[in-house]
């Protein structure tokens, strides 16, 4: 089972420029979370802070009792072995073939025999659909392939926590859909805690259990997906609707005059259609069910009274539907065991 990641009061700035302030959230163990946010709001910085690559000025990131911000370097290195991080452009070693890249963590951290390494690596290469390309150098393949190779490398040590930095950027919609399915399947197989940083709305709508959004140096919200998807906060609804009208401007924040002008224009135009909540992706047939689903259900039902009314009814709807689905005859998957 995955490990819970607790973030408390994290604040990061580069010089005088503050990136975000006082971010607190908990990534529940084994669940999939998505962090949304316009470009340039420090999503990647957040990810790198979780893993201890960047050191925020204040706050803590607790994983298994180790604070990734302030603990001794030795403990941080040890804890990092629990992580798999998929970098935005793969961050593969340019001088090694894909095979050696993916085998790197195994060769560094385990004493496995070369035949064993080969088996594991080829298995992962197959999972991300790169069979046949394992001998190529990172410079010889497309950006999408590099990304998938980076994911494969992040997976070889069976991580408990998987972080994905924009898994969709540079991928076409079909490949993005495949990546979404792959991430859910991985969660079903590994039961790892996952955080995906993205601004892709399809991934945001179909993959996560929980969603958060960073904007204007703040964590706007973080909670069960229904909370964000039904939120009427202007930033959130503008972002999810992909509209120009709202507080997000071309360069982060709009000035008051533009906002007022928009408000006038908006009153004349038709109101945006209410958002529908698309059902979450299920693991591919043949895979075990996601253990996180039951845990999340228990957790969310426990906190349901603290949630906004819209989110509350959306959650009840979702679980009512899934209760019906559960009474249908199950496919024969997994009965061979």
């Amino acid at each position: 089972m995955g490990i819970e990641v607790v973030v408390e009061g994290l604040t990061k700035s580069f010089g005088k420029q503050s990136i975000w302030r006082d971010v607190s959230l908990t990534l529940p163990a084994g669940e999939v979370s998505v962090m949304l946010g316009p470009s340039g709001t420090g999503k990647t910085v957040f990810l790198k802070s979780l893993i201890g690559l960047l050191k925020p000025e204040q706050g803590r990131v607790l994983i298994n009792g180790v604070d990734m911000v302030n603990s001794p370097e030795r403990d941080i290195y040890e804890t990092r072995k629990l992580f798999g991080l998929m970098f935005q452009d793969g961050a593969l070693f340019g001088s090694m073939s894909l095979f050696d890249n993916i085998a790197f963590p195994l060769r560094e951290h385990t004493r496995k025999k070369e035949s064993e390494i080969r088996r594991i690596v080829m298995e992962r290469i197959e999972v991300v659909g790169l069979l046949g390309a394992e001998g190529k150098l990172p410079g010889e393949i497309s950006g999408g392939m590099r990304k998938r190779a980076g994911l494969a490398r992040a997976l070889v040590l069976d991580p408990q926590i998987i972080l994905c930095d924009e898994p969709d950027s540079g991928l076409d919609p079909v490949r993005t859909a495949y990546i979404s399915q792959l991430l859910i399947d991985l969660n079903a197989q590994l039961d790892a805690t996952m955080l995906i940083v993205t601004h892709n709305l399809d991934i945001a709508a179909t993959v996560p259990d929980n969603m958060g959004m960073l904007f204007l140096r703040e964590l706007v919200t973080f909670g069960p997906r229904e909370v964000l998807l039904t939120s009427d906060e202007p930033v959130v609804s503008q972002f999810l609707g992909g509209r120009r009208e709202g507080p997000i401007g071309m360069s982060e924040e709009k000035d008051a005059a533009t906002l007022a002008a928009e408000a006038d224009a908006a009153s004349a135009s038709v109101p945006a259609a209410p958002r529908v909540i698309v059902p979450q992706l299920e693991p591919s047939p043949g895979l075990p069910p996601r253990q996180a689903v039951a845990r999340r259900r228990k957790r969310v039902m426990g906190m349901i009274d603290t949630l906004p009314p819209a989110a509350r009814s959306a959650i009840r709807d979702t679980y009512a539907k899934s209760a019906e689905a559960a009474t249908l005859p199950m496919p024969a998957a997994g009965s061979g065991a």
């Binding site: 290195y77 992580f83 991080l85 070693f93 790197f104």
Partner: protein, 254 residues
Amino acid sequence: MITGALRQTGRLFALAAEVVRAVFRRPFQFREFVEQFWFVASVTILPAALVSIPFGAVIALQVGSLTEQLGAQSFTGGASVLAVVQQASPLIVALLIAGAGGSAICADLGSRKIREELDAMEVMGVSPVQRLVVPRVLAAMGVAVLLNGLVSVVGILGGYFFNVIMQGGTPGAYLSSFSALAQLPDLYVSELKALIFGFIAGIVAAYRGLNPRGGPKGVGDAVNQSVVITFLLLFFVNMVMTAIYLQIVPPKGG
């Protein structure tokens, strides 16, 4: 300005301390060490030999001309050998290790840094200092020591050739003044200098390579700076070491 310079200096020393500590941490990256050793050696051996012949020659010619005017021609051998072994050879080694080896190390680490390869390595729980920097620094030190021997020999041969053939010195006087003035500690300090210069060149190159500022242009700047900083440090350290050596080791002739 001053605090900035001090901060950089402090970080440089911190990296040096970290490297020294990581040298003793297992597992030692033997393969990487051999590869880097071979690489640094291959880019420095030929230029070092080619530089040291004319260098030995000019010292022999200059010293020979001076001693001839003073009437102490028979000491040309000893004087030029000491100059080559103690001063010229470690400095030639240092310039080549910094200029050819260090610049390549700096560029390599810098481009890995901006491609996020080093971040990826840290995320996988592998320390770039232990995995990449330590083998490079050790390779620079090892090559520097061996290269110093080569440069000394080639420089002395060059000096001998020019003194005996061009200036009409006698081989016997050259060799006897050699053994009259030179002593083994001269060779020891020469090798010690080379070892330390190799360490400094490796550390500075690694430090600048690990901290490039902003993109590919930053890597170019870092390489440039690493060579310049190394040169400054080396000449300074050389001066200090020479002064200490002359104080603590009694001269043989006296």
